[in-house]
Symmetry: C2
Subunit: 316 residues, 2 copies
Amino acid sequence: MEAPYAIGIDIGGTTTKFGAVTKSGEILYQDIIHTNQFSSVDLFVEELCNHLYAIIEKFGGSTNFAGIGIGAPNGNVYTGSIEYAPNLHWKGIIPLAELIKIKTGIYTRLTNDANAAAIGEMNYGCTQNIKHFIMITLGTGVGSGIIINGNIVVGHDGFAGELGHTIIRPGGRLHSGTGMRGSLESYASATGVRDTAIELINNDPRPSTLRNYLKESITSQVVYDCAVNGDELANEVFEFTGKILGEALANFVMFSSPEMIVLFGGLTKAGDLIMNPTRKSMEENLLPIFKNKVKLKISSLNESDAAILGASALVF
Amino acid sequence: MEAPYAIGIDIGGTTTKFGAVTKSGEILYQDIIHTNQFSSVDLFVEELCNHLYAIIEKFGGSTNFAGIGIGAPNGNVYTGSIEYAPNLHWKGIIPLAELIKIKTGIYTRLTNDANAAAIGEMNYGCTQNIKHFIMITLGTGVGSGIIINGNIVVGHDGFAGELGHTIIRPGGRLHSGTGMRGSLESYASATGVRDTAIELINNDPRPSTLRNYLKESITSQVVYDCAVNGDELANEVFEFTGKILGEALANFVMFSSPEMIVLFGGLTKAGDLIMNPTRKSMEENLLPIFKNKVKLKISSLNESDAAILGASALVF
């Protein structure tokens, strides 16, 4: 009999979420630990596995599990390792899939977190019948999962799909994490929205409710709140962000000609404020043969579920 | 018995080349007609097929042919049509594969010219054991063929791989064909090299042998000749072209993480003059996980052969 469950694990810089998932995409149980409170990866794996043992027992033992799937920043599907993740405490190459497989005795696979989200979308979200799409995650950073012909693109070494680091404004804004200038992530992430807001406050003389906040306390949420209350400068932050994101999306379309682009993550909560200028700018920057063909959508999956679902789909 | 031959046809804006090819990639016979001397596609097809009949007869009749493969600008592999090709006289959608199949009675497939070149490279060139590569054709324009997992990327509609039209300098140089600003093709094509040379002559006061030429007579070949003779400004043209091309290649690497990028076409005759600044700029713009991994090479195939070989490989 086929094992009815899998474990999906989503490792983020702050929290690690995990759950027991059925093949049809129901999360029966989920829990969370804090990723960065563990000084070594061994302590992290020990705590995580203690939780996994409890889940495995709760659902009838390891023979009931098809495997353990993990989505992680800089995760490499070929090696099962996290490699040089800038947002995690553990440095270098961490063979995480192997460490967890040894402890649990269960088949374990690992991939990049944005790829896991794209796999989740393809199996359980709004792209279930779509063979060519790109998923862009707009969170603290900008991640991406690229699907061509129903397969995730991993490239010759497992690292494909780093679209957040493509340069869209040569010589532009400095990315403090990578030292690169003008990458998509410096503009179209939550951090980028904050930075754009601060630039506008500094350089644009117009009055704005954004000026009521200490600069340190401005977040993409604050900009959103001001924008929906009609603040002109705050609206311009989203216009600018959408313009740059749309230009980048147009470039991606001319690479792989997807049927759909799915946006995912915190910034999508801004809804039309970000979607309208993004769509407009994408269309303006496409060759005629691509115009008015690519659907631009917000993911239909709950954010915290998608990565767990996608990770679990790695082993089903 | 398997048919031993195929016909490969390479349609360009100026000439259409075609030949009889063996499965091992030997071109036994080839000929040429002038694409744009025919006012209608019907006249073109009639003349082309008259040549094809002679070839088919010469090599023992149609049962000896696995098929006819065609590489054409804006060729769509799904429909077998040339769709809105800006460089051809015939406008709209031309169902060329069908027209030729009706006349010859032989199985016919058509694809984009740059995709045909990439397929030729994969079957007969320097990427025979490489499953992930990008081929960039640097001619009058900039074309591309993207190979992922040994398959050509065509996207949901057959139009993927228009990397020459990705925007690499937002708001930059106007492309007279597309009306877009700052696309790769406006800089990294033969036309782009000429335009960069004229810009430098106009804006840089240094003496240069380029100034001995009428502006109308400056070509990428002239710039090359001046550069190899030590002209500083002409060398700077290639430095600048390579810088921009390298930035674009870095973006492409972060999309599909290829093992190799193969450059092809007229501009590659400049050799190290273009390759050295391109490689340097690509490396400078890559995330650490991609650095010093991607091989950058010039195609090992003779330019006029590659497209015929690639087109024939469509039907073998």
